[in-house]
């Protein structure tokens, strides 16, 4: 099946997912993997859409709904398929006072170890006066725990509280 990546972003309100997915369903499209989450009061959607139709038939279905819900929209053909999951073997947790460049420095150190980020979520919490940055990363690396720790250690001297732990996925 050919997949397209449909991206939609706009001010959050009830019913966004229901209206969009109903339009896709009525138009004969299927959903693959999706990510939908609220970020800063916006609702953000990325979804793999497949089916008998094409971009030419998908756009007229979605555009009126997106316009009505005041969502920005983007559609791209992708090379991809279902069942391509990769199981993470490490988790990295970061928290501390918010400062410029945390994500770049942490992920830069990880990339240097061939660390493949599979899932990253981050948030700024605390208060406007004392913002706190929290990030969790799940990923896969052939490097050992010691190598990853050594790569991240210099960041601790820069007041970034970062911890890496192995993830042992239980299969039962």
């Amino acid at each position: 099946m050919d997949w397209q990546m449909l991206t939609l972003v706009g001010e959050d309100q009830p019913g966004i997912v229901a209206q969009l997915t109903d339009a896709l369903y009525q138009g004969g499209f299927n959903l693959g993997e999706t990510s939908m989450i609220r970020l800063g009061g916006n609702f953000t959607i990325m979804m793999m859409v497949g089916g008998a139709g094409t971009a030419e038939t998908l756009l007229p279905l979605i555009e009126p709904v997106a316009r009505q819900l005041n969502l920005q929209m983007h559609l791209d053909p992708i090379h991809g398929a279902l069942h391509q999951h990769r199981v993470p073997n490490f988790q990295v947790r970061v928290n501390g006072a918010d400062q410029a460049g945390i994500v770049a420095r942490v992920t830069g150190a990880l990339a240097g170890c061939g660390f493949n980020i599979l899932d990253l979520e981050s948030d700024v919490v605390g208060s406007a006066q004392q913002p706190v940055y929290i990030m969790t990363i799940q990923g896969y690396s052939d490097a050992t725990l010691e190598v990853l720790e050594a790569a991240l250690d210099p960041l601790k001297a820069q007041d970034i509280d970062v911890h890496v732990t192995p993830v042992e996925t239980l299969i039962g």
Partner: protein, 174 residues
């Protein structure tokens, strides 16, 4: 010895509550051998429940002695009529399942448990377990109650304290 077929979601038998074992005989021993062979045949599973091969009886096997990073464990255990009697603490961990191919997710489990069970001959067993091994037992005992790990998934950003997922006796969904 035989390799048994693993039931896969959405097979409705995976949602059934399994019955107590009452006969501890050669037939049971033969089935346990097959169950163990089936566990070892697939992806590196640390546990398997009789429910997963369509036998709705309270039998599980776990073995946490061979993890990538060694964890506290009691070796390979055949647990008949297992019953978790105490839960303590909770932690998040990643799980997958022979019956749910191609998917892993985060689940909250008790950190430490106390467990009563019988062995393959009906003898009484009791254990105190922690961490990964305790998680494996909870995963397998859930199978006996018709619960899959996907019934206990914790979503991104879920507050660890929001859910109360365990109930004494473990005989149903909380």
């Amino acid at each position: 010895m035989a390799i048994l077929e693993i039931l896969k979601l959405p097979d409705p038998r995976l949602k059934e509550v399994a019955l107590e074992v009452e006969q501890f005989d050669d037939e049971l021993h033969g089935f346990i051998d097959d169950l163990e062979e089936t566990r070892q045949n697939g992806p590196a599973a640390v546990g398997i429940a009789a429910t997963q091969v369509g036998r709705l009886q309270r039998i599980v096997i776990i073995d946490c002695s061979n993890t990538r990073k060694p964890v506290p464990n009691h070796g390979r255990l055949v647990l008949v009529n297992p019953e978790i009697t105490e839960w303590d603490g909770f932690e998040l961990g990643r799980e997958g399942c022979l019956s749910v191919p191609d998917y892993t997710g985060n689940v909250i489990r008790a950190e430490r448990i106390k467990l009563k069970a019988q062995d393959a001959d009906g003898g009484e067993l009791s254990f105190e377990m922690e961490g990964y091994e305790a998680r494996a037992v909870q995963h397998e005992v859930d199978h006996l109650d018709g619960i899959l790990f996907v019934d206990r998934l914790v979503s991104r950003r879920t507050d660890l304290f929001q859910r109360k997922v365990y109930r004494k006796g473990g005989k149903g969904k909380a």
